[in-house]
């Protein structure tokens, strides 16, 4: 029995060295390697699809050139794919972020972990930092793969704005930012809610809210938008809004509508005017395109030059395609700052959590 007894330690250690950080590397790896493998698997399979798609796009562009990009078949493929991939950061937040602390608190294992010599704040800091870095690296690689994949059909020559909402946050460094902030939201929700499943749903909701608000209200204003009254197509610009003015004062569309009505032109779509049907049967195209073949009543009147001649002007607010990278860094930058803030708040909550 005595052989099995615990050897006593010398009464008091003169100076306490903290438990080395490297111990946590093994701990984090052992406890989260399955999650990390799942993350790599999901992003890997998606990445493989993007890689194959990217090769096909390059092949088609090489074979058909301008014709291919103009007919937009690549865009038709890209839109649903990008829409689907929008959920990836939210899933990372829910499945990687939320359980990290919520599971400890839900199952009671924090009573074991937080009473070890390592110390709970250091434990939380080390663990969150390691997973956050892993998530950022994997997501960053994915973001650049997505950028590469659709590069042939996004850009100035192709007329698709690189800033458009559906792909901007999947490309470049922004995707890593969104994945990181989702993770940070997840861990914070976990320590606040203390239950895995509710924390996961909260993460999904909170991240989606942030993404919607950012796309609708923040991103258009990272830099002051440019305004033009020109009618030529803005090559690959991200159009934020259009409005009409009369002698420098804003006018409503109905005013413009009334003026054009006298000419026999009607609004075929919000803000888009064409000749009234019944003549040649051709209604004018979209923005910037004039109905060259107007209805009989307005045969000799081209609506847009007519409006301009009468003091009207159409102002288009837009962000030029050249601002893609500044916008990427701005978005990634504030997302990184927000993530660090949320993770710091999480560690603070772990510190003051009362069992």
């Amino acid at each position: 029995m005595t052989a099995m007894a615990t050897p006593a330690r010398p009464a008091r250690d003169v100076r306490l060295r903290p438990v080395p950080w490297r111990g946590m590397a093994w701990v984090s790896w052992r406890q989260h390697r399955a999650t990390l493998a799942g993350l790599v698997a999901v992003l890997g399979v998606t990445g493989l699809y993007l890689y194959v798609t990217g090769l096909h796009l390059r092949h088609d562009v090489a074979a058909y050139g301008e014709m291919f990009t103009a007919n937009g078949s690549g865009k038709m493929e890209m839109t649903p794919t990008a829409a689907l991939l929008q959920v990836l950061p939210a899933l990372i937040g829910a499945f990687v972020g939320a359980p990290v602390l919520a599971r400890e608190l839900e199952t009671g294992t924090f009573r074991y972990t937080w009473t070890q010599g390592f110390g709970r704040e250091r434990w939380a800091a080390a663990k969150l930092a390691q997973i956050a870095v892993a998530v950022t690296v994997v997501a960053g690689a994915f973001g650049f793969l997505f950028s590469w994949c659709y590069e042939p059909i996004i850009g100035v020559r192709q007329g698709l704005s690189p800033l458009m909402a559906i792909t901007f946050d999947l490309r470049g460094v922004a995707f890593a930012g969104w994945a990181l902030v989702a993770f940070a939201i997840g861990v914070l929700a976990g320590v606040l809610i203390r239950r895995v499943v509710p924390a996961m749903f909260t993460t999904l909701a909170a991240w989606s809210g942030l993404a919607v608000v950012t796309g609708a209200y923040l991103r258009p204003h990272y830099e002051t938008p440019l305004v033009t009254s020109g009618f030529r197509p803005l090559s690959a610009a991200w159009v934020i809004g259009q409005r009409w003015t009369l002698h420098g004062k804003p006018v409503s569309l109905s005013t413009v509508d009334q003026v054009l009505h006298k000419l026999g032109a009607i609004e075929v779509a919000p803000g888009v005017f064409g000749a009234a049907p019944g003549g040649s049967g051709q209604t004018g195209g979209g923005f910037g395109q004039t109905a060259s073949q107007a209805s009989p009543a307005s045969r000799n009147v081209n609506p847009v030059p007519y409006l301009i001649h009468h003091g009207f002007a159409q102002l288009t607010t837009y962000q030029p395609a050249s601002r893609f990278w500044p916008f990427q860094w701005i978005e990634a930058g504030w997302l990184l700052a927000l993530s660090l803030l949320l993770i710091a708040a999480t560690i603070w909550l772990v510190r003051r959590h009362a069992a």
Partner: protein, 311 residues
């Protein structure tokens, strides 16, 4: 040295005080039992001691004056929580590695030998172990840290009688080996439990908490020597005035009084018989009389007002 010392310690959760004005000192070198009814604040007191909770009022220090929850305190105290939480998806070996990586000291040899002796397979997932084995695993991990203070919160609650016995045997073996070949303090133990019979065999220090306050604290031998049971005729309705009665139980024929004595020489009233008291009887008597107090504990508690025994 006191392994735990509290002064005016209180913990409030929202509007409810789980522990109030708790002042006590537990000297080193004991197996101290913390007993009390459900909701008495035992778990709260232990959580404050191991740093899982922070006080709402007062202060708690451990291992001779270190603030609870500080790095030094975490290093010197091993805690096995209620329901002995372990990571259910990790193997026993992984739990050993985990604990080793999270502590400055970990006696891998002791842990492996102990688990081997208990017949706990190292490759099995912790979640697949029986309740008794999980408790033994948690205890072994705690002991392998070579703590100066081992804190156990209701370790026996979910165990069958055999597992209880084995669990306490592991604790006592570790305690018995303290100081072997070493000069200096060995391991002290503080455990909370409802299982009074089990405590009687192992505990040599008792703290009775009731209603968030310390009711009794002291060495078991001392407490037992200062109390005895008087048995007399139930018809004798007048309890002798000079007796400090903790608890009174009247049957049809006989009355049993648990009384506090000034010493062994106390006179027994005519017609009454005196018997020594068991720890279980003592604890039950005080639990039934939450107003009664006996605080012969050392250090901090000595200056406290010696609480009058009430009826």
């Amino acid at each position: 040295m006191n392994v735990i010392e509290t002064s005016g310690l209180g913990k409030r959760y929202h509007q409810t005080w789980a522990l109030r004005e708790c002042s006590l000192a537990i000297p080193a070198g004991h197996v101290a039992a913390l007993v009390g009814p459900n909701g008495a604040g035992k778990t709260t007191l232990l959580n404050l001691t191991v740093g899982l909770a922070t006080p709402s009022a007062g202060a708690v220090t451990v291992l001779g004056g270190i603030p609870a929850g500080s790095p030094g305190a975490l290093d010197g105290i091993a805690f096995v929580a209620q329901d002995t939480p372990v990571y259910k998806n990790l193997s026993v070996t992984d739990m050993l590695h985990l604990t080793r990586n999270l502590n400055r000291h970990f006696d891998q040899g002791y842990a492996r030998a102990r688990l081997d002796e208990l017949g706990i397979p190292l490759k099995r997932k912790a979640g697949k172990l029986s309740g008794g084995q999980q408790a033994q695993l948690a205890l072994t991990l705690a002991l392998a840290r070579r703590p100066r203070l081992l804190v156990l919160d209701e370790p026996l609650a979910n165990l069958d009688p055999l597992a209880r016995h084995d669990f306490m045997a592991t604790v006592m073996a570790a305690v018995a080996g303290k100081g072997e070949g070493e000069v200096g303090a060995g391991m002290s133990v503080v455990l909370s439990s409802h299982v009074l019979a089990e405590l009687e065999r192992v505990a040599d220090y008792l703290i009775l908490v009731s209603g968030g306050r310390v009711q009794v604290a002291g060495e078991v031998d001392d407490l037992l020597a200062r109390h005895r049971v008087l048995t007399g005729p139930a018809t004798d309705v007048h309890t002798p005035e000079e007796l400090a009665v903790v608890h009174e139980r009247r049957g049809e024929a006989q009355a049993h009084l648990l009384v506090r004595t000034g010493g062994p020489a106390d006179a027994v009233p005519p017609g009454w018989e005196a018997h020594p008291v068991s720890l279980e009887e003592l604890v039950l008597a005080y639990l039934r009389q939450p107003g009664a107090g006996a605080l012969p504990g050392p250090a901090r508690t000595r200056n406290a007002e010696s609480t009058e025994v009430t009826r």
